[in-house]
């Protein structure tokens, strides 16, 4: 199976716009949105939801105020500062900060702490004109996003193995932490979308280091390349030095944002030659993918 993962380090460089355009150009793709914090691919590639799954995992502490003896033992024991006490000393768990370790339950002399299983989030399988789409939404509270990434990615990989498509095309999360790690491990090729800004340049270096750490091949797309030609040249030289091909150079155009507002793909944007630039990037990515061993 071949898997293409679109990542960036810095957010908002154009991952989802590139992913949606590539989805229209790829041969029989299975699509998956691995940015479970803020999944947007389904807004550009609309479809019919076919299945919905709840993902449970981990636990969270709940303190029964009727049993709490206000001894104050749990608050300092919590490594996540997730326990607050009120004026009378009664303890309360801040749900969104609790990581479910259970230390409070262990130190509570009164047995006031209960550990409830919690919902990590939910994910959907949808049918779209471009192929099957898997996407997820993290439960409010936001714990364990890496686990939800692994689950929705696993479901999409299983679909490719079952013959639902020829390529897994993943729209990844920003950053280099747990969701990005979960999205990157074992992928065939990472496509890193960056922009010629000081932050785009800096964060590209971070995500390239992460790809090297996991021995993953990576290619780069420079979005808004004409915004700062000098910095674009510097980024190209840096990629060359690190051995990562720059497979696409997309222009800056406000029409790209208009397309997002209207739910259209970058392939519908002709201003500054955007459509041709995206097609040529895809051709290069496809050629590169063909040279890489299946994962």
């Amino acid at each position: 199976m071949r898997e293409l993962s679109i990542l960036s380090g810095k957010g908002g460089t154009g991952k989802t716009s590139v992913a949606a355009a590539f989805a229209a150009l790829a041969h029989r793709p299975v699509l998956v949105d691995l940015d479970v914090d803020a999944a947007n691919l389904a807004l550009l590639v609309e479809g019919e939801p076919l299945e919905r799954h709840e993902t449970m995992g981990g636990q969270e502490a709940v303190i029964d105020p009727a049993v709490c003896v206000a001894c104050g033992a749990c608050e300092p024991a919590c490594a996540f500062r997730a326990i607050e006490t009120d004026a009378s000393g009664l303890a309360r768990v801040v749900e969104s900060l609790c990581e479910g370790c259970g230390v409070c339950a262990h130190v509570c002399p009164a047995g006031a702490v209960r550990l409830d299983p919690c919902a990590i989030g939910r994910w959907w399988r949808a049918s779209t004109p471009l192929g099957p789409l898997f996407h997820a939404e993290l439960a409010a509270g936001g714990e364990n996003s890496g686990l939800l990434v692994a689950e929705v990615r696993g479901a999409a990989q299983a679909a490719v193995r079952a013959g639902a498509g020829d390529l897994l095309l993943a729209d990844g999360p920003p950053g280099i932490g747990c969701p990005a790690l979960s999205a990157l491990t074992g992928t065939t090729l990472a496509v890193l979308v960056t922009e010629p800004t000081p932050s785009g340049r800096h964060d590209l270096g971070r995500i390239i280091d992460l790809c090297a750490h996991f021995h993953r091949p990576a290619a780069v797309i420079l979005n808004k390349a004409d915004l700062n030609p000098a910095l674009s040249a510097e980024i190209e030289a840096f990629c060359h030095e690190r051995g990562h091909p720059v497979v696409g150079r997309l222009p800056f155009t406000p029409e790209a944002m208009t397309a997002v507002v209207e739910g259209r793909s970058l392939l519908s944007v002709t201003d500054q030659g955007m459509d041709q630039a995206v097609r040529s990037a895809w051709t290069a990515v496809e050629a590169l993918l063909a040279t890489l061993p299946e994962s």
Binding site: G11, N40, S199, M257
Partner: protein
């Protein structure tokens, strides 16, 4: 006063707003970059980061001479970071959340504290002398919040010496790093853009953060497109819209050259100053008056 600049979607302009506000803030202010996965605030404030301290997380190490192989530590670990391999436990350090639960449960004291490198806590100053704090997550480290807590410790020590307002540049998203960044804020400023992505992710971030009980408000960046959807949502959610910052090529080019919004032109600087005023007014607890 602690102000956190956050967003659901990445790239909506958190750093643009945070750096711009830091430059026009009417009172002494410390800028804090809590996006430890992709820290960029220092680049736009031209800060020189002069101190770099390695931050570590206490994780267990097993002393095989004392371990009786009872398995209490494995049973205690909610994150499956400990497994019994034959008679002894084995630690998978990347899964460890450093809750300390295993150390509390080991009956023979066979678990001792070891350290895992999280990354670095960075401290520096802008050319005008403003303090800047940041964190830089180690490549391969999965958990951002523990490093953010280390940055906060350094920040608090500095504030104790020399009090100031705090402006936080938060990481994107709606999961633990974003929530950790805003947890102490007097006001969370959510930066969005008038696109379906911006609105969708604003709704998610607001939904995740409202459980923290922080006051929240919205800044619409890249205004100029139809923003009725965002404004309708804000009205329904009771979120005041504090500013609409226009989108044009000049702004994008200035950002690409590392300039802050106030440097683009006087009208942009004026909008930032008005935003700073609106924020301080909203974040000041009633009964206190913001000194100008």
């Amino acid at each position: 006063m602690i102000i956190a600049v956050a967003s659901g979607k990445g790239g909506t302009g958190k750093t643009t707003v945070a750096a711009g506000l830091a430059r026009v803030w009417p009172r002494p202010v410390v800028a804090v970059d809590f996006d430890v996965e992709a820290p960029n605030l220092d680049l736009f404030l031209n800060a020189t980061m002069t101190r770099e301290i390695q931050a570590t997380l206490p994780v267990p190490r097993i002393d095989p001479a004392l371990c009786t192989g009872c398995g209490a530590c494995r049973d205690a670990c909610a994150f499956n970071a400990l497994a019994m391999v034959g008679p002894v436990p084995m630690l998978f350090p990347e899964l460890c959340h450093a809750c300390g639960g295993c150390l509390l449960r080991c009956p023979t004291g066979a678990l001792v504290e070891d350290q895992r490198l999280l990354g670095e806590v960075l401290e520096g100053r802008t050319p005008r002398g403003g303090r800047v704090f940041a964190g830089r997550l180690r490549i391969g480290e999965a958990h951002a919040p523990p490093l953010m807590r280390k940055v906060r410790v350094a920040l608090r020590a500095s504030l104790a010496q020399e009090p100031a307002d705090v402006l936080i540049d938060a990481p994107p998203g709606a999961s633990c790093p974003a929530l950790e960044a805003v947890r102490d804020a007097d006001l969370v400023v959510l930066v969005t853009e008038p696109t379906p992505f911006g609105l969708h992710d604003l709704r998610l971030a607001w939904g995740a953060m409202k459980g923290l009980g922080r006051r929240m408000a919205v800044v619409i960046n890249r205004a100029g497109f139809d923003d009725q959807g965002v404004r309708t949502f804000c009205a329904e959610a009771g979120l005041p819209v504090l500013a609409a910052l226009p989108f044009d090529r000049d702004v994008a080019e200035a950002y690409a050259r590392g300039r802050t919004l106030d440097e683009v032109g006087p009208e942009h600087a004026g909008r930032l100053r008005a935003l700073a005023q609106a924020i301080t007014a909203l974040a000041t607890p009633s009964g206190e008056t913001a000194h100008a």
